[in-house]
Symmetry: C2
């Protein structure tokens, strides 16, 4: 029996490390994407929260009052900050768990399954937040002549710059979440093909 077993053994042992290496590589990309998600979500929230700008606005002839522009003046931006904060917290937890999995030498299918479920949910939440903030910020930038909503970005320039950066970063967060979902699905389908 020994001569028959011998050629099979090296084949198996060379295939296993290859699979293992590929799985580890995918896990490293996973961790990198989660860290990117954390960074973009955190910076987006910080930029949005620190966007307050005060300007002296003439309200009547001879009367000028200081008026604030703050993110919490619109429910769309409050939702935006809440959603991005959740994404930030989620990315911390999942990054730590992914790093642990990396140290243990690979992640289980069950863990990947739970991760991709929550990734998809977060994708929906963060994409909706990006859309809501983007829609309202666009009115602030361009105004709307039909409804007589005036643009405010000509007055509050730095405030609008903060908003634009923050919304751009949250778009990056959304795309990162989409890539995380795609990566997980790719890994899961590769596991099926390999068996």
């Amino acid at each position: 029996m020994a001569p028959i077993d011998t050629p099979e053994a090296p084949l198996k042992s060379s295939a296993a490390p290859e699979n293992h290496d590929r799985s580890m590589g995918q896990l490293v990309v996973d961790v990198a994407l989660r860290v990117l998600l954390f960074a973009t979500a955190l910076v987006a929230v910080i930029i949005m929260v620190t966007s307050k700008q005060t300007k002296m606005i003439p309200v009547a002839p001879g009367l000028v009052v200081p008026l604030d522009a703050k993110f919490d003046h619109s429910p769309a931006f409050i939702y935006f900050v809440a959603a991005l904060s959740v994404a930030c917290l989620y990315s911390i937890i999942t990054s730590v768990l992914s790093v642990f999995a990396l140290m243990r030498g690979g992640s289980s299918t069950k863990m990947q399954f739970h991760f991709v479920m929550f990734d998809a949910l977060l994708l929906g939440i963060v994409a909706a937040a990006t859309g809501a903030a983007g829609g309202v910020a666009y009115i602030g930038l361009k105004g709307n002549s039909h409804t007589r909503w005036n643009k405010i970005c000509n007055t509050y320039g730095s405030f609008c710059f903060h908003f634009a950066s923050s919304i751009l970063l949250s778009l990056v967060s959304s795309i990162t979440l989409l890539l995380l979902v795609w990566l997980s699905i790719y890994v899961l389908s590769k596991k099926i093909a390999r068996r």
Copy 2:
């Protein structure tokens, strides 16, 4: 050899139909969700496009002009209609492909893999559209005293009712897409566990 083979054969043949039944059940749920997505996206687009309302608005003392409220007055709603139309078209194509798979007796892993990739992408697009339309519609409903954007729903009641229904339906579309992603991931991970 015959007496040894006999007890194995029924075991195998009873396990295979069970797996097959489960897989067919999942495919039926998949088709049902895709039809739901089609219905909600189509109705949302139709309601949004037919929302035009004309009112006589006093613009100066003694001067009353007819003013329209239409969805294409805001880029957020144009994006909304575009995104939901894409979702509608996508749901038709994937429903037909899923029904074909159902008639053939099951779907391939490769097809599921491609479906869930596009489902996740569509989830992001439709969620962002829902958020954008929702954010702008909320200003229309409540106004914003800080930026002096007046509410318009007190004047254009039926227009706003159309918008609210349409946004609610697109929320259902988003949730349906999330359920489709979850179902596909569940099916993929079950395939791994079964092998």
